[in-house]
Symmetry: C2
Subunit: 340 residues, 2 copies
């Protein structure tokens, strides 16, 4: 049973566990520094010849969910509810990815915060006793996101240095009741919409950093902890611009220094020196894939015991952006621990 | 604490209550048969002169949420989490509607099922003990929906007889722990995506009816109840085509006759004889506004004691639709009761 502490944080006393996890990625992501941690790397971004990039994204998400369920030694019938969403209009990456699975579905929209959002809700539902097994999932695809939010790739437009590369990737967690020696969700925090009035869709890091700062500062206050209490505070995905801004905002506004324990999924998924990815990775699938590969493995090996994972979303819509509106940000967090 | 019964249904043992509710609508909805039940009718669809129809939709949702909180004798600081979403790309109706409220936000996408989806999650979070007070909300706007999903109104296109009119309306519920003599959520069911391969975006009723049939049949099985056990089985929003199809599907496939207790929000919000609304109302705001006005009032007066409210969503996206894909449907349900 969950207990609210402070203003926004919920302790999940039963500590639901991530009993299965999977990350599958596209070609560019499969050439990055954590390539060997992924479950599968597709050799081309159509994902086995899908007729459109949107369908490719659905195929990617289907693969991640299927593998996460299989790795938990479970089958689709065991899943009470699947929680998921993605960046595409009306979340079609998810809808068409999972619709044949015949699992009750709770549709979410949190932009790039979706992995933390879905994991937060999935674990709250397990903790409440409502569900025995849930799946949290999300995906993104470079080509479907560029076409929808900026320009079709065929246009050949130049990208700015602050632009992030939407990862072609999907990740999924199978969340069940507590299991020993398994990464478990001890607490969740749902964020507020924050808005520093950023309007440049090629600078999502700046749009998301204030939300990440707000959620991290609130979580530390609510739990009475300091950055040094964590092995890793992991944001996803601020990229280079957003990471620097986050550290600056937390120092300036809150006098909190997270630099020693902070990393960002957008800087982990690509080789920032040798891959042409501008400010780093982004897209729901980026943090989902990093969490459900490298991070889970390091938690299972004992290298990391206490990870505060903060999904950061830029609530960018072309419609509102073209009407002169800002890009509001939101960040949700889950505390993942491997202590007993 | 929630208990799963049968395959998809969760009993909420603490019976969280709807302690505040509000519905605000546009001009056409304010000329319909339940006009006097709404909290406020805006005299023109720009909602106080908003610069775009999308901004008008946000203003509408902000008004509904503000009023629901006020009617619960609460303030925004009392709200632990607001759960909401809408039809617009990236749910901007909701984002820009509530972003100034500074309330933790859980973004949802369930198309026209969003009122039931948000109410189901909000009440599960209260029942779990995590939250004391939550708000469930959604909105829709005729002009913003037509522009996004079909044609801009300025085009002057003819609409087909099966087309539904997206309601310009918003509704919100303030959900808290159980309170006597107040409509309360006793059970929730989250639906599966169903797909009868309907591809016509002007026939959403047909796309949603199979999902509604699936969720209603499953709920009756899970709870061991019959249609006659309910004062009202209320779908939202199938319109005329979808309602007829739902009743036919349930009779043919399940031998269940709901005709004596069934009504649909899309047929209640407009005068089907005298208003030019084709197959009836639709849009997230339609069922949200009908539930949070006429239905709540009839429950508080004692006329209705047991209402099974089923939100039905057509997961229509222009992108997938233009790529030749079908329109999958989903339906979520909440059982609202006023017994002690």
């Amino acid at each position: 049973m969950a207990e609210k502490i402070g203003k926004q944080t919920y302790l999940l006393k039963s500590k639901p566990s991530i009993c299965g996890y999977s990350a599958v990625v596209g070609k560019t992501e499969g050439e990055g520094p954590i390539a060997e941690d992924f479950d599968y790397i597709f050799s081309d971004d159509t994902i086995n010849g899908s007729a459109s990039f949107e369908k490719a994204e659905s195929a990617l998400q289907r693969e991640a969910v299927t593998r996460a369920i299989a790795k938990a030694n479970a089958c689709t019938d065991d899943v009470d509810i699947i929680m998921g969403g993605d960046l595409l209009n009306q979340c079609i990456g998810t809808t068409f990815g999972i619709k044949e699975m015949n699992i009750p579905f709770l549709g979410l929209y949190g932009a790039c915060s979706t992995m933390a959002l879905s994991l937060g809700i999935a674990s709250t539902f397990v903790d409440s006793g409502a569900c025995s097994n849930t799946v949290a999932t999300t995906s993104s695809h470079f080509a479907s996101a560029e076409r929808q939010f900026r320009m079709p790739l065929e246009y050949g437009g130049q990208r700015t240095p602050t632009a992030q590369r939407t990862a072609t990737a999907a990740g999924a967690c199978y969340v069940s009741s507590h299991k020993k020696n398994t990464p478990s969700i001890s607490a969740v925090i749902f964020g507020k919409i924050t808005d520093l009035n950023i309007k440049d869709p090629n600078n999502m890091g700046a749009a998301m950093a204030p939300a990440a700062a707000d959620t991290i500062a609130q979580f530390l206050k609510d739990t009475g902890t300091r950055p040094s209490d964590y092995d890793l505070i992991l944001t996803g995905d601020l990229g280079k611009v957003g990471k620097d801004l986050l550290i600056e905002l937390l120092m300036k506004d809150e006098n909190i220094d997270i630099s020693a324990v902070h990393n960002d999924c957008g800087l982990m998924i690509y080789d920032m020196e040798n891959q042409d990815v501008h400010a780093g990775g982004s897209g729901c699938g980026c943090s989902a894939a990093v969490l459900n590969s490298n991070i889970m493995k390091r938690m299972l090996s004992g290298e990391l015991k206490k990870v505060f994972f903060v999904g950061t979303g830029a609530l960018l819509s072309l419609t509102s952006n073209l009407q002169g509106e800002s890009i509001p940000g939101i960040a949700h967090g889950v505390l993942i621990t491997t202590e007993e």
